[in-house]
């Protein structure tokens, strides 16, 4: 055992040796610095060093950047031009500070002598200016790569409401949130994650509303992340999730800035990750699966009906195959007489047991769904024709499957599409309930449902009960959960999310 630890230590030391450069600071000589960075970026053809000198004093300078990550016009006009043309340079007493304050035409400059920091800045699209004879370099913000224009997110379409969606650019995403919440209480805290990728992430919250305990917990969990790279927000989700193996998510995600800012107002914390348009929100509770941003833009009667429909379809999509199996193979006495006669008529000549039939058709549907999702739309129609014709009518006509099973699977599929965020858990629950009810009938189904409820009610998201406001039937609990009441009635924020600042809406300015 000791040997192992010792070995580990040796390996760790070795890693440290190669990682940390023996001289982590810059030197005074420009040539040395250039050589150092050329060595750091060896075999990297995108790394560019441009050397020049001041026209009057012949002071040698050089800028370093990564090709195409900078705004070329900006670098030419605001860095190279003033540095070459500036007449007052030359005094030996001139420091980097003077250049920063008098020469460079940039809004964001910083000086540094740390090789590590300079390397990071270069890789993020900044330009670094080295001046011969000075131990410090100037980091100038010149980020200017191409980004996608904000467009409407495909997965979260709304009929009424903003058409803007997050992009892959962290900064652009932050401005989208900021534009919606013009308060100095809105805080943005940067963090860097990933040993190799050094991904920039940003925690957003509104001070005074956010529950500090949740924020501390989130920071603690982010501290534990020790991974080589973060390629998307999904990686973070899995690393800091409350129940890592539970199919239900305890961290939300959205592509819509209006949703994110709405969540911030409720006391949630948003995590914006550079390079992905999916912004995470914590905590996430079960009812959020059924809430759509559109609910808040349309008539509350209509949105309440929609929410009830979504909840109803969730129940249907997980249970209808299981209940069909239980009723037709265990409890035939529960089906009305005329109905059981027509089911029996449909079953005549079908070679497989009902359970196998149901399983095969459900699998076929999942296959169709998975095939269609990443296909270009032209192929998509072909798939739907094949799926609809072959699986639907042809299979029924050939008496390979019975019509009621096709109807049940179709119902399952349609109702499953109403809650797209729940797709993953739904498939798992649907199949496990199906197995249970084919073993034990309705008894097994109820058994599964009880298990599901136990799972949901014991789950927490960052200390918040997952089934918050769904534990007991009361007026307050109903307000923005299974239905949405008028904004006039929504007066308080959720108790657990914003415990110290609950008043949200105070119509008429009444004292609370």
């Amino acid at each position: 055992m000791f040997k192992k630890i010792k070995n580990k230590n040796i390996i760790a030391e070795k890693v440290k040796d190669t990682k940390a450069p023996d001289n982590s600071c810059l030197s005074k000589a420009l040539e040395d610095n250039i050589a150092k960075f050329k060595d750091l970026f060896r075999d990297d053809d995108t790394f560019i060093i441009r050397q020049f000198a001041n026209r009057d004093t012949e002071i040698k300078c050089c800028i370093a950047y990564i090709a195409d990550m900078i705004d070329k016009a900006l670098v030419n006009d605001n860095i190279i031009k003033p540095m070459i043309l500036c007449a007052s340079l030359g005094d030996k007493a001139d420091t980097t500070d003077k250049i920063m304050s008098n020469v460079l035409m940039s809004n964001e400059v910083e000086k540094s002598d740390s090789v590590e920091q300079i390397t990071q800045s270069i890789m993020r699209g900044d330009t670094v200016l080295f001046i011969d004879g000075f131990k410090e370099a100037v980091i100038i913000s010149t980020v200017g790569w191409q980004t996608r224009q904000p467009s409407e997110p495909e997965a979260e379409r709304v009929l009424r409401g903003p058409r803007e969606g997050f992009t892959e650019s962290l900064n652009m995403n932050l401005t989208m949130i900021r534009r919606r919440l013009s308060t100095h209480n809105l805080k943005f805290k940067y963090r860097y994650l990933g040993k190799e990728s050094n991904t920039k992430i940003c925690l957003c919250y509104i001070e005074g509303i956010v529950n500090r305990q949740i924020l501390d917990e989130l920071n603690r969990r982010l501290d534990t992340i020790d991974i080589d790279g973060i390629t998307g927000s999904g990686t973070i989700v899995e690393l800091i999730k409350d129940a890592p193996y539970c199919p239900f998510k305890t961290i939300g995600g959205t592509e819509r800035p209006d949703v994110a800012s709405g969540k911030l107002l409720e006391g949630h914390i948003a995590i914006v990750v550079d390079g992905t348009p999916f912004v995470l929100t914590v905590p996430f509770i079960f009812i959020e699966y059924f809430q759509s941003s559109e609910d808040y833009y349309i008539d509350f009667y209509y949105s309440s009906i929609n929410r009830l429909l979504r909840i109803f379809s969730f129940i249907l999509t997980i249970s209808s195959p299981a209940i069909y199996i239980a009723m037709t193979t265990f409890h035939q006495e529960m089906i009305p007489t005329t109905f059981i006669r027509s089911i029996t008529a449909a079953r005549q000549g079908v070679p497989f047991p009902t359970f196998i039939e149901m399983l095969v058709l459900l699998l076929a549907f999942e296959l169709l769904r998975e095939t269609g999702i990443r296909m270009p739309s032209s192929v998509g129609t072909a798939i739907s024709v094949v799926g609809g014709l072959v699986l639907g009518s042809a299979a029924v006509e050939a008496r390979i499957v019975s019509a009621p099973v096709v109807i049940v699977v179709a119902l399952t599929a349609i109702t499953g599409l109403t809650t797209p965020k729940l797709k993953g858990p739904e498939i798992l629950i649907r199949f496990s309930l199906l197995m249970l009810s084919s073993l034990l009938g309705l008894y097994g189904y109820i058994f599964g449902i009880i298990g599901l409820l136990i799972l949901l009610y014991q789950l927490r998201s960052f200390g918040i009960p997952y089934m918050m406001a769904l534990t007991k039937f009361s007026k307050d609990n109903l307000k923005d959960t299974v239905i949405r009441v008028s904004w006039k009635q929504i007066k308080y924020r959720p108790k657990f999310m914003a415990p110290y600042n609950r008043v949200r809406n105070n119509p008429g300015g009444k004292r609370q």
């Binding site: 037709t328 193979t329 265990f330 409890h331 035939q332 006495e333 007489t337 059981i340 006669r341 089911i343 029996t344 008529a345 449909a346 079953r347 005549q348 000549g349 079908v350 047991p353 009902t354 359970f355 006509e397 008496r399 084919s438 073993l439 034990l440 009938g441 008894y443 097994g444 058994f447």
Partner: protein
């Protein structure tokens, strides 16, 4: 370590629950629908020798015609020492298990009913699969099987037709619709009544038809009430929902008929006890409307409608009294459930007479019938259509 113990506990616990659920639940076996035949109704007879039960079972059969499965009724007969034995013997003939949960009627032959009906229907109440809320009927034909094997006028199964006959009795009120469990409840209290069914010829087809009420004393059939008497019986039992009352007003000629349609009827039974004499007060309040009339009398006048009301009340009263008398004297079976009413209202009196109730008290029970009729309206036309009065 602790965590390991916890998960071991969890596995054990869930295993225990799963095992229990298999062991404790009732119907646990997976069975595809088409593997058993649906029974829609059955009839119980004794065989010719009289030592075995003979079952006539109607099942739903499916015939593949092209892509469609066509459903039709098929019939099987099997014999057995007991009813259940006969049911199991069906497998020998059919090769399929029968599924009884959807059986809706059972027809018992007169022969069995006279000997005692309980041995034949015990299984229906006791078995988990056969429902005790199926309708029970008595066949007035030689066998019960031939009623089930009727030649229906419409393309429905025989059992369905008979089931609907009883379910729709509320529109005609000519026979009680009695489920097996209801019959057994009445049987506990002494007298009970079951609808009777016979075969008649309609359009040169032998079809089943409701034939009034069969009266039981304990579990033995002792006689019948015809359909008109059955209506009176239903009036007393407060089981009239709708139905018709036909009157022959003015009695000048036979065509002067008036039909009253019952909309609502309520019967209150209350015993009174005075001077050592028990009297059963029957208060009937019936709301009717004039549905049809072939007279020229104008019933929009206060006087005429009052007369009509009185006539109807008297007619109903007379026929109810006659039926009660008949049951008391001829059959002496408390099918009206008077005993239960006395027990509920006058428990002290009941304790004295309980012993003699079946023997003599019911027979000599004084009955005071009080009928009140409310005529709501006379339909869309207030005046008679006959212009020239024929009288």
């Amino acid at each position: 370590m602790k965590k390991k113990l916890y998960s071991a506990k969890l596995i054990l616990l869930s295993g225990l629950i799963l095992l229990n659920s298999i062991a404790l639940c009732g119907c646990w076996n997976y069975r595809d629908i088409e593997k058993s035949s649906l029974v829609s109704g059955f009839a119980i007879d004794k065989n010719k020798a009289g030592d075995k039960y003979m079952l006539t079972v109607e099942i739903i059969d499916y015939e593949m015609s092209g892509k469609e499965a066509k459903q039709s009724a098929k019939y099987i007969q099997s014999e057995g020492k007991t009813v259940f034995d006969a049911i199991r013997n069906v497998i020998d003939i059919l090769g399929k298990r029968l599924y009884w949960a959807h059986a809706s009627i059972v027809i018992i032959s007169e022969e069995i009913a006279k000997e005692g009906i309980i041995p034949a229907i015990d299984l229906i109440l006791r078995d988990a699969e056969i429902r005790s809320e199926m309708y029970i009927l008595i066949s007035t034909e030689k066998t019960a099987g031939e009623v089930l094997l009727q030649d229906p006028l419409v393309s429905q199964t025989s059992s369905d037709i008979i089931e609907y006959m009883l379910a729709e009795q509320k529109d005609v009120s000519k026979a009680p619709a009695v489920e097996v469990y209801k019959f057994l409840n009445d049987y506990e209290s002494g007298g009970s009544a079951i609808p009777a069914i016979k075969l008649t010829e309609h359009m040169s087809k032998k079809t089943a038809e409701i034939a009034g009420t069969a009266i039981f004393k304990t579990d033995k059939l002792i006689g019948y009430l015809n359909t008109n008497e059955s209506k009176c019986f239903l009036f007393v039992r407060n089981e009239i929902k709708r139905g018709l009352i036909t009157l022959n007003e003015n009695s000048i000629n036979d065509t002067d008929n008036i039909t009253l349609e019952i909309f609502k009827s309520k019967t209150k039974l209350k015993p009174s006890y005075a001077d050592n004499k028990l009297t059963m007060n029957i208060d009937i309040l019936t709301e009717v409307s004039i549905a049809e009339m072939s007279t020229s009398v104008d019933y929009s006048s206060e006087k005429n409608i009052g007369k009509l009301k009185k006539d109807a009340e008297e007619k109903i009263k007379a026929s109810i009294e006659a039926v009660i008398k008949k049951v008391q004297l001829e059959y002496n079976s408390d099918i009206f459930d008077f005993g239960t009413i006395v027990k509920a209202y006058k428990p002290s009196v009941w304790r004295q007479i309980e012993q003699d109730w079946d023997e003599s008290i019911f027979k000599g029970l004084e009955v005071a019938v009080n009928v009140r009729i409310k005529i709501r309206n006379c339909g869309f036309s207030s005046k008679p259509l006959y212009k020239n009065s024929r009288n």
